[in-house]
């Protein structure tokens, strides 16, 4: 087996600004038929996510056997609303026309339940969960396709749709438990995150990672022992995959979130239990998240005491370019070839 590219996202640093989302949108999903696609999403957790309730939509495997999955509608993805721009800007209606969505009033959007979260004041909580395709080691999409139209690159593990072979059957869309495959109704093919392979091939990190103002995302090969991915995933074991029980072996990993402490009924700090319930984080990241949190707490305490912590230095990412596992070239150096 060849090497595998991976991403680590530090959820303690994500501020939900959607710069990653827009970086991806502007680069890859501006063509006709792609209006509703967000290969990168950032949702508030706990929340229903994008597409709505994707965590309850099946797919993936259970004990190695494929699990049937749903085909989310465009509306469940949030769709691409159309606005009455013409009316407002050129309709000569002055203050009588207001900007609004054309047609039926939407009841869902790609970031509909932003900042709602869960819990009761003053102990309410939420965090942001950015998601891209997990470029799985055991990709349910690839295995579901009857036409062998989905390929996993032997050299870097990036999973892509071969649009020449794809006939738009959408078995992949059903099979992906993360619901990160999109159907393009204009081209009649399935499309998905390509891990910015045309950038990667020229030594430039993914747009979502490079544009992130919070230094949330690390990029690189999983087996590069001197780079952050290996250190966070294998050495420190503080980065864990989302929903490992789907059995697709994701290659995107998350540093779990730690919220400020709880308050008790007297308004005093109560450190007897965390603000974000551990069982909730286990439901997302599996039991290894407990160990990961413990390690993070230990290392944070060390750093607070003035001791050296390799892990904290790594997560702070003092040197921005070191986050990218060698894919640190300036995007301005890319030679784009139009096909």
């Amino acid at each position: 087996m060849g090497r595998q590219l991976a991403m680590v996202m530090d959820l303690n640093k994500c501020i939900g600004c959607q710069t990653c989302t827009i970086a991806c949108k502007r680069l890859w999903t501006r063509d006709e038929g792609m209006e509703y696609m967000w290969w990168n999403t950032v949702n508030t957790q706990p929340g229903r996510g994008t597409p709505r309730d994707w965590e309850q939509s099946g797919g993936g495997f259970r004990k190695g056997v494929p699990k049937p999955g749903a085909l989310p509608t465009r509306r469940e993805f949030g769709d691409a609303w159309e606005y009455n721009h013409d009316e407002v800007f050129f309709g000569e209606k002055g203050p009588k026309a207001h900007l609004q969505v054309k047609g039926e009033k939407p009841d869902w959007g790609p970031n509909w339940d932003e900042d709602q979260g869960d819990g009761d004041y003053p102990n309410s909580y939420y965090f942001y969960l950015p998601r891209i395709c997990n470029h799985c080691t055991h990709p349910a999409c690839l295995e579901a396709c009857p036409r062998k139209a989905i390929e996993k690159n032997a050299e870097n593990g990036i999973v892509t749709v071969n649009e020449d072979r794809c006939r738009g059957y959408r078995f992949c869309m059903e099979a992906c438990p993360y619901k990160k495959i999109y159907f393009n109704e204009t081209k009649k093919v399935s499309q998905k995150c390509i891990f910015c392979f045309p950038r990667i091939e020229q030594g430039v990190a993914n747009a979502c990672a490079r544009q992130c103002p919070g230094r949330v995302r690390f990029v690189g090969y999983r087996d590069d022992e001197n780079a952050p991915i290996y250190k966070l995933v294998e050495k420190w074991k503080v980065a864990v995959p989302l929903h490992p029980e789907y059995e697709t072996e994701p290659n995107v990993f998350y540093v779990p979130p730690i919220a400020p402490p709880r308050y008790d009924e007297n308004g005093d700090i109560d450190e007897s239990s965390p603000r974000i319930p551990e069982e909730y984080l286990v439901s997302l990241f599996g039991p290894p998240v407990i160990e990961a949190l413990a390690t993070l707490h230990d290392e944070m305490a060390k750093a607070r005491d003035g001791q050296k912590s390799e892990l904290m230095d790594l997560l702070i990412a003092y040197k921005w370019k070191e986050m990218f596992g060698g894919f640190d070239k300036d995007p301005a150096t890319i030679e784009w070839v139009k096909s």
Binding site: P68, G69, R75, Y169, F171, A175
Partner: protein, 224 residues
């Protein structure tokens, strides 16, 4: 099934599914079966369709005519709803196809085999004025190699699809194409997809083994 010779019918006549010439020649009712779930090419498809009906269309009325230059098949079947758009992720179009053997021993059940291609003419309701030509050498291997040679016309009226698929009798192609020669016999198969039932790819109703197809000699006399 006999393909009658209609020397004075031009291609425009043959492509008109409602033209009276079709009513002047026999139609064969071909029973269809759902493709077996165990033969679906991936485990995910097998699991997803384990307890679902595959192949809701149980028969298709087929007629075929040739004019010495072109051959046309007219397929007619009942479809309560017209599924002709792909405007949402969970909508699939109705579709129909004719399969023809390229080599005489090509197995139709597996859509050909390595070295034994099957040639298919494929029409889909979201592109009703056209058709694709495909070849396959086994399940999951179908490849569209041409979108011009096969002519297709389909329309849905009062709960029924009428689709015509036509091609020149003689075509020169580097891809595997079935030979169709007046005065000789070959085989054919039919498949129908019910979009409303989520049928696509190998999830379809099909006619089983090759059915006989006899092309009347261009003189109009019966084959010897």
């Amino acid at each position: 099934m006999q393909v009658d010779f209609v020397g004075d019918a031009g291609i425009d006549v043959l492509l008109d599914a409602d033209h009276r010439v079709w009513g002047q020649h026999p139609t064969t009712s071909v029973p269809l079966l759902g493709t077996p779930v165990g033969m679906q090419p991936t485990a995910a498809i097998q699991v997803a369709w384990m307890n679902k009906k595959i192949g809701t269309v149980d028969h298709v009325d087929v007629a075929a005519l040739h004019n010495g230059r072109e051959i046309a098949f007219r397929l007619e079947w009942s479809a309560a709803t017209e599924s002709s758009d792909v405007s949402d992720n969970n909508s699939f179009p109705d579709a129909a196809a004719i399969a023809l053997p390229v080599s005489p021993d090509a197995p139709i059940i597996t859509m050909g085999a390595p070295g034994q291609p099957v040639n298919a003419w494929y029409w889909r309701a979201d592109e009703p004025q056209g058709a694709r030509q495909l070849s396959a050498e086994g399940l999951g291997t179908s490849l569209t190699f041409d979108q011009r040679v096969i002519q297709g016309r389909g329309s849905w009226k009062q709960g029924r699809w009428r689709v015509v698929l036509a091609r020149a009798l003689r075509v020169e192609s580097e891809s595997p194409v079935a030979e169709l020669i007046p005065g000789t016999a070959t085989g054919f198969g039919v498949a129908i997809w019910d979009g409303a039932n989520g049928e696509r790819g190998g999830i379809k109703a099909f006619s089983g083994n090759w059915l006989p197809l006899e092309l009347q000699a261009a003189s109009g006399e019966r084959n010897a």
